[in-house]
């Protein structure tokens, strides 16, 4: 039997495409952030809490030799920015768990929206507050005599953004896999996120740690991102660490999107 496949699209329909769809999905999620400014305010306070409570301890317990000769704040603050991005995008899938239980996820899937856009739009929503947080950190550090390079901060955020989209997509895939099993999402997420965090030298330098930790750090993409942020924030844009961080971020992003889009397609079949 032959069936003519009609490919004509209804006249008033414009095929939206990836970028437009990403913006639409991002705006849908971001509306919630704007409407609930308290969560935004608290998320802005978070870096300041670390700045005020953690950095002094670090300064007291570590010599500046361990930090590669930098002042503790200069060393520590880029790590805080990465940490915020890590927790933010790592929870991308958590917001999905709820939509999976109602029909809201299914409704979006039934539209012609680009599948990668669903992932990227949601990850970008988790990243958006980061821009403001980074600015606050940069300004708050000024009274302590720490100067960050604005151009460097922009480069650092770009690398972090690429990394965050990848991580967000992975978190999204985890959310889909945890359908109807919320504990699974949080269990896996927490089990992975802390080792990743500690083994990247984000909060404490690994130079004083045992050899196996240092070895583990070399295969942790986050290590390269953290190092790149430290270089970028000080304006050392020619530092090879930046290139390595950019590569690690791009790879994470590529893997995340492939895994994430597969998960979305599999969830629909």
């Amino acid at each position: 039997m032959s069936v003519t496949v009609v490919t004509r699209v209804e006249p008033d329909t414009v095929r939206p495409g990836f970028v437009r769809d990403t913006v639409t999905i991002f705006l849908r999620e971001f509306q919630l952030v704007l409407r609930d400014p308290f969560s935004l305010i608290f998320s802005l306070l978070q870096p300041l809490v670390f700045l005020g409570l953690f950095a002094p301890l670090l300064a007291g317990s570590l010599s500046s030799d361990a930090l590669g000769g930098e002042s503790p704040l200069t060393w520590f603050l880029p790590g805080v920015v990465v940490m915020i991005a890590l927790f933010g995008t790592g929870s991308t899938g958590a917001n999905l768990l709820y939509e999976l239980m109602t029909g809201s996820y299914e409704r979006v899937l039934a539209t012609p929206v680009s599948r990668p856009a669903i992932l990227v739009g949601r990850a970008l929503k988790e990243l958006a507050p980061l821009v403001v947080q980074a600015v606050i950190i940069t300004l708050a550090a000024l009274p302590f005599g720490v100067r960050f390079s604005p151009a460097g901060v922009v480069v650092g955020l770009a690398i972090l953004g690429v990394f965050g989209v990848g991580l967000g997509a992975l978190s999204y895939a985890l959310g889909l896999a945890s359908r109807n099993r919320e504990w699974l999402f949080w269990g896996v997420q927490q089990t992975l996120i802390f080792p990743l965090l500690i083994l990247s030298g984000m909060m404490l330098p690994l130079e004083s740690g045992p050899g196996w930790m240092q070895a583990a750090a070399t295969v942790n993409p986050l290590t390269y991102v953290v190092n790149a942020e430290r270089a970028a924030f000080t304006g050392a844009l020619a530092d090879p660490a930046i290139l390595h961080g950019a590569i690690a971020a791009t790879l994470t992003c590529a893997v995340g999107l492939v895994v994430g889009v597969r998960a979305v397609l599999r969830s629909a079949g």
């Binding site: 209804e10 709820y98 029909g103 809201s104 299914e106 539209t111 012609p112 929206v113 629909a268 079949g269």
Partner: protein, 311 residues
């Protein structure tokens, strides 16, 4: 508009195998309104979710709006609207925002999406709820919003999975009016599932009864009733035994005489006249016309009404 051939879907969950849809072949023409009826777990939603590309068929083929659901799911999504069994809006999102977002997902400009959202808020009597969050709506309001979301892009083919569940009679009537208008003005094809038999009876020209993943009947309501169910006449009399002898096929139940037959409404007046001539006093005469539920009972051995009540 829809053409499926031996469509199947099997779920495997922890060793258990559920054959949710077991070989459905269906043809729906442009402009038809088809109601899919069946008890809980019959496979109605699974069927709809395959036709809307949300589930991949295990076997068989389906062409929806001229496009194969497996080969070109994106093409299918362009051409259809879907109101699922669950609620479409995100819990913390606002009603109007969600309608506008839906328009944007179908490529409408913000301005056009906003205009359309306003029309639908009006049409589905959601006015005044624009800035409310979905979580704060009543069940029926939420259902009306779901339908509005499904209609945003004026689809030529609309799938509705239990659209009226949870709506009050007025909201149901209003939704039906809207669907009737869509069909008249835009020749929209509608495939819906429902547990309300009276609704299927009144609105659909065609009823597809599904049970255990298979189509067990497919016809108009009148034809289904004529084929699968009988009317029942019950007479209350003093001497049932006498009446039983006078009327072919009658049975006695206490002081009542029961008669099963087709077209009871036409037979009843003549029957009463005949009994009067024979000197029998009839205290009361009840006519129970065959309902879709009787059809269902005859076809499946179960009553849909009880299932609906239990659900």
């Amino acid at each position: 508009m829809i053409l499926t051939e031996d469509l199947r879907r099997t779920f495997r969950r922890r060793g258990a195998v559920v054959e949710a849809v077991r070989g459905i072949s269906l043809r729906v023409e442009r402009g038809e309104l088809v109601a899919v009826l069946g008890p809980n777990g019959a496979g109605k939603s699974t069927l709809l979710r395959m036709l809307t590309t949300l589930l991949r068929p295990t076997a068989g083929t389906a062409q929806v709006a001229g496009v194969d659901v497996v080969a070109d799911p994106a093409g299918v999504r362009q051409r259809i609207g879907y109101v699922g069994q669950g609620n479409a809006g995100g819990h913390h999102h606002r009603v109007l925002d969600e309608l506008v977002t839906q328009g944007a997902l179908y490529g409408r400009t913000r301005a056009a999406a906003r205009r359309r959202a306003g029309e639908l808020m009006e049409a589905l009597e959601l006015r005044g709820l624009e800035r409310r969050t979905v979580a704060s709506l009543s069940g029926g309001q939420r259902r009306r919003m779901d339908v509005a979301i499904g209609l945003v892009h004026r689809p030529g083919l609309l799938f509705l999975d239990e659209p009226t569940t949870g709506m009050d009679p007025q909201a149901r009537a209003n939704l039906w009016e809207h669907i009737t208008r869509l069909r008249r003005e835009m020749d929209t094809t509608v495939v819906l599932t429902t547990h309300y038999l009276d609704e299927a009876d009144a609105m659909a020209e065609r009823i597809v009864v599904v049970d255990h993943g298979e189509v067990i009947a497919d016809a108009g309501s009148a034809a289904l009733r004529a084929r699968h169910a009988e009317d029942r006449i019950v007479l209350e009399v003093d001497e049932p035994a006498t009446v039983k002898d006078l009327v072919d096929g009658a049975t006695v139940v206490g002081f009542r005489v029961e008669l099963r037959l087709a077209d009871g409404a036409r037979v009843l007046p003549g029957l009463l006249a005949r009994l009067e001539r024979a000197g029998v006093t009839v205290h009361a005469a009840h006519l129970h016309e065959a309902s879709l539920d009787d059809v269902f009972l005859a076809l499946t051995g179960r009553s849909l009404r009880e299932e609906g009540a239990a659900a």
